[in-house]
Amino acid sequence: MSEQQIIDGCIRHSRKAQQLLWKQYSGFLLGVCSRYASDRPEAEDMLQEAFLKIFFNLKDYAGTGSFKGWLRKVTVNTAITYYHKNLRYKHNIDIDEYMTTETGTRGFEEDFYTAEDLYRVLGELSPGYRTVFNLYTVEGYKHHEIAEMLNIDLNTSKSQYSRARAVLRKKLEELGKIKKNYT
């Protein structure tokens, strides 16, 4: 089945087309969700929500732009909905996280860290930091767009981003030391 056939099938709620769509994109979208979730169960939950949204709103996909990009956008929006749901924990930031200031500007050795390592350090971040960091760095949104999406102040987005960056750097360096000792 071609991509267009799968999409049409899903709009008709054909079970077979839905299964094919899931098979083809669930891995990619679980990757997206894992960046926004603090652990695997949360990521899986987000993924299911995202797919429900995809299946029920597929008829709104205009067909312009890449389908994969649309799927990703829906998934990121689901992650933001999740973030809003957990809003009451937004201000709960670890005091270590808050007090960390960026040390050094050394680069990182690309092949040394695996994707799992990066998912893990992201998962340890507080939801607010993680969401802002992901939206800015990986999704490529501007700070004023992020502020609007998350309903926060522009400066909050900026400061959360720079703090997130500092914490990630520190965590990666710590992880690097441990890894070097083991190898």
């Binding site: 008709r12 709620h13 839905q18 299964q19 899931w22 098979k23 669930s26 891995g27 990619f28 679980l30 990757g31 894992s34 960046r35 990521a43 899986e44 993924l47 299911q48 797919f51 429900l52 299946f55 029920f56 007090m99 050394r106 680069g107 990182f108 050795e109 690309e110 092949d111 860290y113 695996t114 994707a115 990066l118 998912y119 992201l122 960091f133 760095t137 990986v138 102040d153 909050t156 960056r165 990630l168 750097r169 990666l172």
Partner: protein, 435 residues
């Protein structure tokens, strides 16, 4: 050197490694999702698939068909029954039955011997039967068509609620009852005090019937009910009597407390009475004080857990009460102080705080509700007072005489009062962090 060149920025690391990276979901997640999808689709309207809406529509159609079939099936048998004892009374006086059936005595002042005419089936014909019959003779047949109003018409002249429609020479039935009036639900025990009857039929005036000689009956709704007793003797002769039961309505007790009185804003509470159908009231405020006023006002000295009960009485003395438990607690009132703050490094902010300064946690101040006044003093470790305020909307910005205080522990002390007058005395410490 080659290794150095492969070093990249943090952002690039995350972007390269994570953008487009895939994680295999595993077959159990796939299974879980598919069943969730199926479940969700079932509850969503979609004409192309079987779902809840189809099921509901099908169920409604089956139900409608069922009702239609049953109502048709019932039609034949419903009219003679209808919970109405009168047709039975008619069968008792049919001329075919006993020889004495030719006359009926109607208990009013004129006892008129009448020719019996066959009881017509419909009520309209009953009324027309009281005219001239085919032979031109005056007929005066009163056949109770409805147990409530027909006997009353007869009783109207004598003013006696008890009437009897009976054979000549037959004794009138005697009803014994435990109560003739009371509050709903009214439970009355009826007894047939006659010994000669061979069959008994009670009709309680609200559709209920009984064939027991002694019947316990509960009147759920207020109203005046005509209770009819029809006795039949061994020869099939019938005698009827009736009596009235008054079931009084019960009031509904209800009250309301204005929202800001619940938190004892000034200790005084105005109770609003929302009771229906009552004429007088009894309030129990839960602090050993009570009142008989309609809408009383009461002052509570302190927060607590009070159970307020309102009992409402009707003119007949029927009562209903409602209790609201655990009122006027201090649950809505609080005062809390943070244990750390980070003064603005750029200079004193003056201590007036807002949402923006709160985000940055630049001002040390209380978070409170239900406080009327509060004096806050802050001391350094060596006992010097660095801040004092009587204004709840002003906190400490971390400066003393324009100088940023040294990071460390400071002691605070708060004295004040809650809005109901109870005192607040609190103390604690706070860490001044360096920005």
């Amino acid at each position: 050197m080659a290794e150095e060149e492969r070093d990249i920025e943090l952002e690039n690391l995350f972007r390269k490694k994570l953008d487009g990276s895939e994680i295999e979901p595993g077959s159990d997640l796939t299974g879980r999702f598919m069943s969730r999808l199926e479940h969700r689709e079932f509850f969503r309207f979609n004409p192309a698939r079987f779902n809840l809406y189809y099921l509901t529509a099908a169920a409604a159609a089956i139900l409608a068909a069922g009702i239609l079939i049953f109502s048709h099936a019932d039609e034949g048998s419903q009219n003679p029954v209808a919970g109405n004892p009168v047709p039975q009374a008619e069968t008792g006086v049919r001329p075919a039955d006993p020889p004495a059936a030719a006359t009926i005595i109607v208990v009013n002042n004129q006892i008129t011997p009448v020719r019996y005419a066959r009881a017509p089936a419909s009520t309209d014909e009953v009324h027309s039967a009281g005219g001239n019959d085919s032979q031109g003779r005056n007929t005066n047949i009163i056949i109770p068509t409805r147990q409530a109003d027909a006997p009353m018409k007869v009783a109207g002249q004598s003013g006696n609620p008890e009437i009897a429609l009976r054979y000549k020479g037959m004794p009138r039935p005697v009803i014994e009852m435990s109560e003739s009036s009371g509050c709903v639900p009214l439970r009355v025990r009826f007894r047939n005090a006659t010994s000669w009857s061979s069959s008994v039929l009670w009709s309680f005036g609200d559709g209920g019937t009984s064939t027991e000689s002694e019947a316990d009956y509960i009147f759920d709704l207020p109203g005046n009910y005509t209770v009819t007793l029809i006795l039949t003797d061994a020869k099939g002769r019938t005698s009827v009597t009736s009596t009235i039961v008054e079931a009084w309505p019960v009031p509904k007790a209800a009250f309301e407390i204005p929202e800001n009185d619940v938190s004892l804003t000034d200790g005084k509470v105005e109770f609003r009475n929302l009771s229906v159908g009552a004429t007088h009231y009894l309030w129990d405020f839960g602090d050993d004080v009570s009142s008989g006023l309609n809408e009383p006002e009461h002052k509570y000295d302190r927060y607590g857990k009070y159970d307020v009960t309102l009992t409402a009485f009707s003119e007949n003395g029927c009562a209903d009460s409602v209790t609201v438990a655990d009122l006027f607690t201090d649950a809505g009132t609080y005062i809390r102080f943070p244990n750390a703050f980070i003064p603005n490094a750029g200079g004193p902010t003056g201590g007036y705080y807002s949402q923006i300064t709160d985000e940055a946690n630049q001002v040390f101040h209380a978070v409170s509700s239900g406080v009327s006044s509060c004096n806050l003093k802050i001391y350094s470790k060596d006992g010097m007072m660095v801040f004092e305020s009587d204004d709840l909307s002003m906190g400490w910005d971390g400066y003393y005489k324009g100088q940023l205080c040294t990071p460390g522990v400071y002691i605070w002390k708060a004295r004040g009062s809650w809005r109901n007058g109870q005192a607040i005395v609190m103390a604690g410490d706070v860490i001044l962090l360096k920005y």
